[in-house]
């Protein structure tokens, strides 16, 4: 299982990639494998305000459903249409094509509360 070192992680199994004041958010390889075949991703509308730790959507597999929690606060500037049309990309490429939303980061200080790849791996016992 792969946990790229350039991402930050939450204990709820989301990742965020920061680049120039924006963050790309998705779920981890571990999360997708625990959920199984993902069939539906419900995402907020562009313009929605996220608050760190609060839910911003849901993800459904055949026999499981889970809330999505915002790794950091910010405003949604883009959503990935591809995961809505073909949710299986989250299973196939959780960190690349399976990203879900792009947000304009509101408070970069929140970054320090997130886990790095090693701490996340420890959390899930990998």
């Amino acid at each position: 299982m792969n946990f790229p070192a350039n991402l930050k992680y939450t204990k709820d199994h989301e990742w965020i990639r920061i680049d120039g004041g924006f963050g790309w958010i998705g779920i981890t390889d571990y999360a997708q494998s625990e959920l199984g075949d993902i069939v539906f991703v419900e995402l907020p509308a562009v313009g929605a305000k996220l608050e760190q730790g609060k839910t911003f959507g849901t993800i459904e597999a055949v026999k499981a459903v889970s809330d999505l929690y915002a790794p950091m606060s910010g405003e949604v500037v883009e959503i990935n249409k591809e995961v809505q049309d073909s949710p299986e990309v989250v299973n196939k490429e959780p960190y690349e094509r399976g990203w879900m939303i792009k947000v304009k980061i509101a408070n970069s200080a929140e970054l320090s509360s997130l886990l790095d790849a090693d701490s996340y791996k420890k959390l899930i016992g990998k």
């Binding site: 199984g36 075949d37 993902i38 069939v39 539906f40 419900e42 459904e60 597999a61 055949v62 026999k63 499981a64 459903v65 949710p87 299986e88």
Partner: protein
């Protein structure tokens, strides 16, 4: 009982004297008493036998019941209000309603061996979609009233989702909705903070504080309104509209989907399902595509199997309580599958022309009747109507009523000047004549001269715009090719043959109690004295039913050790909801309305948290320990923490893990100490009857799944019944009904549309208890525990057993844990479940209460021979897994991963499996004697959830397949 009389107990129990000793030896006990002593903690055992009379033989029971039935008066009822006499086509009555091949199946979770009823339910959904002209429909709800409440609840949920901050919380209810529907809306609205605003839709001015509205079509007194401007107005303020519609009327009237409805609900009873004094019948629920993920209830969808053939399954299960728990859109679990199947079959048999003929006949009869009554001075007030006349009488209705009743006729008496007449499919010309005769006599006039042939003009049934339906319906081939009885009989049989039911083999589902549904228990359901009675007839016409209710209530109180009973709830989940509302009413009445916390163990059935949320409770989860028992310390901590707002504990006993927890009384004491009451989920009551009881363990309320413990068949996902029994202090709050006096003196609002839920199937449980008697139902419990422990003894050296009691015994069910095999062999519980199909068995429960395990409940009705076949099969499967462990079989391409094997796959030219065809389909000797062929291969679940199709696939899909 006379010694020469036949004893029903020996028919109900699967194990005879000869096998008993062998089974006890295998278990390692000397007697059944010893086994029971080791299983059920001494301190909760009943000290004396149940005070329920000795059982009677089947013949004597039926003869006795005939005299009870004779106390019901079967009148012609024209009362309407959502219930109408109907003609059940004999081919459906005989081949579906009275056929164990249709009524004994379980809910179609194992879709590969349930394609028949899945297709039948898809027909039902297609029929509803066509007639309402909405995009999607579910596979039934419990009744029209609760379907309306589900619609309100769904729209409220959507409103909460779409608004940040203060969501709209008002729901407009047209005062012309059926009274029972309005009452149920109240029941559902109050606990979750919805404000109902009752009014006239023509005068209503809604604003942004409303999230929705409901209207009745045709309305309570029969008027058909044009709702377009009301709906436009409602949409303008951002609210959505539910139309409660008579499905049959939509064959003639503009359907709700064409005038802007967002949701349509209603009953499908008049599609050939007997009245049964109120139920069971299937309600429908249809809505727009965009709301499908919020739609309550089971939805049948289309997918493909491993060979890419079309296959059906239940889709979007993530909406449901068993997955989403307290976040579910509804607590609905058991629905009305069998009745939905009947209604769908009615549409298949009649087709679009037949349905139109029936609807036209009804409307033409109503028109003719109005004309004839006019001559006698009776004025019909509805401008536009379908089947229901709203009549202003020239004489007081109190004068009409005795004459009508003397003639065996019930009208709907609105007040002293007005009465209603709802004509139905079973109203023949001479029935109309009888109605006219009553009205003539009441008004002191002579019978008018008329010719019925002239009066009933079926060709003359058009409506003025915008009421006339112009769109077609039921165009799919399935509704257009089975119109002769021969074709219909074969279609029903073809579907039946795809389904595994109790007619084939045991269905060992944990917590579902798939016991015998004896033919004698089922017979009376079809008797006209029970089947052909409208739920709102005067009470002096149902003395037979009242006797059955009163005896059954006293039996259930005796069995549960509680004080009073309500037979109203139509399912276990609805019983939970009712019970929790009763607890809430009790706290409120004592000035403790702030108590709103429900403690629920993590092992609870998903309906528990879902019901608690619906009843306005806050769910606090209590942990379980490593042994699967409720963590008593955690319970104590949380009860104390919430001592000021603790309302109830919801607990299943014996536990959902199949164990009699020793500490149950302590747990109940803790909850009582902190001011809470104990709700016991009765799903596992089959392990208690006659040996212990909810009353003894300390419960204040419990529901009883009559479709589990008391022999009502599962019907492939309903009907069911979930009466509740309560302690004395809660009796005043038992649910009431707006039209018929039921419940306590401080009754909560109705939870079901009919006062006694689904009375006709109460007869099944009544028969079960009468024929087995107090001793027999206790023996049933003992044998259920025997069978479970026997299977455990046979299987425990092959698979780990997850939880057991302190003395190594299990209750009436137990859990096998194959999870560790996954890492070494890749085999998971799904593979075992599907492979069992090749052996001719339905899998045990596989995803509850512990995902990835098998929960097995054999019930008392199975014989040693059947238990052995099942055990042999699981042992043989373990050997097949061992072949993978030993490297003799491939991890990817083996009998388990490729299961189930269809005849088509096994006989294909291109067989290229690394094992033989014979091993695939005849894995054990006994299978050759009685092979059940799964009709499709492993179904692709994710494909179905990603590509949602919930109606019969278009005609092109069939053509493609033929190529």
């Amino acid at each position: 009982m006379f010694p020469y009389e036949e004893n029903f107990q020996s028919r109900h129990l699967g194990v005879g004297e000869a096998d008993l000793q062998k089974m006890l030896n295998t278990i390692g006990v000397s007697s059944l008493d010893e086994l029971i002593d080791q299983t059920i903690p001494q301190r909760i055992r009943l000290r004396k036998p149940l005070e329920i009379p000795e059982g009677v033989g089947e013949f004597r029971f039926l003869r006795d019941l005939q005299s009870v039935a004779a106390r019901n008066k079967v009148f012609k009822s024209y009362i309407g209000l959502g219930y109408y006499d109907t003609i059940t086509p004999s081919v459906i009555l005989r081949n579906v309603f009275q056929n164990p091949g249709w009524y004994t199946q379980y809910t179609p979770y194992q879709a590969e061996i349930a394609q028949g009823r899945l297709e039948a339910l898809l027909n039902f959904q297609t029929m509803v979609i066509d007639l309402t002209k909405l995009d999607v429909a579910n596979a039934s709800l419990l009744d029209e009233g609760t379907a309306a409440a589900e619609a309100m609840s769904m729209l409220f949920g959507l409103a909460q989702k779409s608004t940040n901050g203060q969501p709209a919380n008002k729901f407009f209810v047209s005062e012309t909705c059926f009274p029972q529907t309005i009452d149920i809306l109240k029941t559902r609205a109050l606990p979750v903070g919805i404000e109902l605003v009752l009014g006239n839709h023509e005068k209503a001015r809604l604003d942004r504080s409303f999230f929705g509205a409901i209207v009745q079509y045709p309305a309570e007194h029969g008027a058909v309104y044009d709702f377009r401007s009301f709906i436009n107005h409602t949409h303008e303020v951002g609210a959505k509209v539910v139309v409660a519609a008579d499905l049959l009327s939509l064959a003639l009237l503009t359907p709700p989907g064409e005038f802007g409805a967002d949701v349509a609900v209603g009953s499908t009873q008049r599609f050939g399902v007997p009245l049964g004094y109120g139920g069971p019948h299937a309600a429908y629920f249809a809505t727009r595509n965009e709301f499908i993920r919020q739609m309550p209830g089971r939805i049948i969808g289309v997918s493909v199997d491993a060979q890419n053939n079309r296959a059906y399954r239940m889709t979007l299960q993530t909406r449901e309580q068993h997955i989403r728990r307290e976040k579910a859109t509804s607590n609905i679990c058991t629905a009305q599958a069998l009745l939905a199947i009947m209604a769908g079959m009615y549409a298949v048999y009649h087709g679009p022309q037949g349905i139109k003929r029936i609807a036209s006949g009804i409307h033409a009869s109503a028109k003719a009747l109005a004309n004839m009554l006019k001559e006698l001075g009776y004025t019909q007030l509805n401008e536009v109507y379908f089947d229901t006349l709203n009549i202003r009488s020239p004489v007081p209705t109190s004068k009409i009523r005795p004459i009508a009743e003397r003639s065996g006729i019930n009208f709907r008496y609105i007040d002293d000047k007005h009465f209603g007449i709802s004509v139905d499919e079973a109203t023949l010309p001479h029935d109309l004549e009888a109605i006219v005769r009553v009205c003539a006599e009441a008004s002191g006039k002579s019978m008018p001269a008329f010719s019925l042939e002239k009066e009933i003009r079926i060709t003359d049934v058009g409506y003025p715009p915008p009421h006339q339906r112009t769109s077609d319906y039921l165009q799919h081939p399935v509704f257009n090719q089975y119109h002769s009885e021969t074709e219909m009989m074969r279609y029903i049989k073809m579907l039946e043959n795809k389904d595994l039911s109790l007619t084939h083999s045991m269905i060992p589902l944990g917590s579902c109690t798939m016991k015998l549904n004896a033919a004698t228990e089922l017979f009376p359901v079809s008797w006209k004295e029970f089947a052909n009675i409208h739920p709102f007839v005067p009470q002096d016409q149902i003395e037979g039913y009242r006797q059955v209710f009163s005896e059954l209530e006293s039996f259930l109180c005796e069995i549960t050790g509680l004080h009073a009973c309500s037979l109203q709830p139509n399912s276990g989940a609805q019983g939970e909801f009712a019970g929790l509302l009763v607890i809430r009413a009790y706290h409120q009445d004592r000035g403790e309305g702030k108590r709103n916390v429900a403690l629920i163990p993590s092992s609870a059935h998903g309906t528990n948290p879902a019901s608690a949320v619906m009843a306005g409770y806050k769910v606090v989860v209590v942990k379980c320990d490593d042994m699967g028992n409720i963590d008593v310390d955690d319970l104590r901590r949380k009860a104390e923490e919430h001592k000021n707002d603790l309302a109830a504990l919801m607990v299943t006993y014996p536990s959902t893990h199949g164990v009699f927890e020793e500490a149950i009384q302590d747990m109940c004491d803790i909850v009582h100490k902190y001011g809470g009451l104990v709700y016991m989920d009765g799903a596992n009551l089959n392990a208690q009857v006659g040996l212990t009881s909810p009353g003894v363990i300390g419960a204040d309320v419990c529901h009883i799944n009559l479709h589990k413990t008391f022999s009502i068949p599962h019907g492939g996902g309903g009907p069911g019944m979930g009466p509740i029994c309560v302690a004395k202090n809660l009796a005043p709050y038992l649910p009431g009904h707006p039209l018929v006096k039921t419940g306590g003196e401080k009754a909560i609002h109705a939870v079901s549309a009919a006062p006694w839920g689904s009375p006709s199937i109460l007869l099944i449980s009544y028969a079960y208890i009468k024929m087995l008697g107090g001793k027999g139902i206790t023996e049933a419990t003992r044998y259920a525990i025997l069978n479970a422990n026997y299977l455990k003894a046979r299987l425990e050296s092959h698979y780990p057993v997850l939880y057991q009691g302190e003395k190594g015994r299990v209750a009436h069910e137990f859990i096998l844990d194959p999870r560790e095999l996954k890492a070494t062999t890749g085999v998971d519980v799904e593979d075992i479940a599907k492979r069992l199909m090749d052996y001719g068995f339905h899998a045990p429960t596989v995803s509850f209460p512990v995902p990835g395990t098998l929960m097995i409940e054999p019930t008392e009705s199975e014989s040693k021979a059947e238990l052995d076949r099942f055990a042999d099969s699981l042992i043989a499967i373990r050997k097949e897994i061992k072949e993978i462990e030993d490297g003799k079989s491939s991890k990817e391409d083996n009998v388990l991963k490729n299961a189930p094997h269809t005849a088509q796959a096994a006989l294909s030219e291109a067989w290229n499996r690394p094992y033989s065809r014979y091993k695939a389909v005849y894995p054990l000797g006994f299978v050759r004697q009685n092979k059940f062929w799964p009709s499709v291969g492993r179904i692709n679940n994710s494909y179905g959830d990603r590509n949602i199709v919930c109606s019969c696939p278009p005609i092109e899909a069939y053509v493609e397949e033929e190529i």
